[in-house]
Symmetry: C3
Subunit: 107 residues, 3 copies
């Protein structure tokens, strides 16, 4: 895709247990990013076993997907912060290209 | 990725307050697109302040993520419709490449 | 995007009625993949009519989005399994590039 009226940015999606979500949001803020979207109602299976979303009696076991979009000059700082957190937990992150219409909104 | 048995299309993800979701769906329909997926249970933080999903007493403040996949010849019409809506609201959109197995399903 | 410290993989997102979700998870397992993420609270409109998420009296009509990330050598097996299921149902799949920080986690 090569759209001249859109600006390429990097989308980072983190899937993590709900208890670690505030740490992810702190890391996003520390990296100088200003916005994020969180999706609840997530369940999943990874190498560390099954995580079921929306548990009634153990909210910490629910998963969240946190999506943020950052310009290139902020990606390294964000990933550097996320790596040790993900290595220490069962979280994963997916990094991909995305294009936005209002780049200044994300800086 | 270069898969000969898949067809490249453009995925448009719009994150917007729930009250504006019907307008997004109208714009998708107006652009000649036939399908969409909506994800509820969304919260987020943007330049316009915090939006918490699943509010009990003010459904209009909940966020939705609306995903649609369109062939290239329909992208411009869709984005032209979305831009003024997003500029007037706190919504954002992410545009990216995706590949599908049944392209006629999306036209 | 060309990040030397990340590994490119293929992300497959399947949107399907909840009743077919276990079959999708079986296909992911059969393809040798070990992890997935499922998003509930999904509604959508496709060629086969409207699907509303979170129905109280007919759980089978709810939609789910199942996300998995696989290395290249497992993509073909996964897609081969998914194609007949999607052709027989109202499900769709989106295939895209993504980059991960811990590739061994996904193999």
């Amino acid at each position: 895709m090569n759209r001249t009226d859109l600006t390429r940015m990097t989308k980072v999606e983190v899937i993590i247990v709900g208890a670690d979500a505030p740490t992810v949001l702190d890391l996003i803020r520390d990296a100088g990013d200003t916005g994020w979207t969180s999706v609840s109602g997530i369940s999943g299976l990874g190498h560390h076993g099954h995580h079921q979303g929306r548990l009634l009696f153990n909210q910490q076991a629910t998963l969240e997907m946190i999506i943020t979009v950052v310009p290139d000059d902020k990606v390294d700082a964000l990933l550097a912060g996320l790596r040790p957190l993900l290595a220490a937990t069962s979280g994963v992150m997916f990094v991909s290209d995305t294009w936005v219409s209002r780049p200044t909104y994300f800086t």
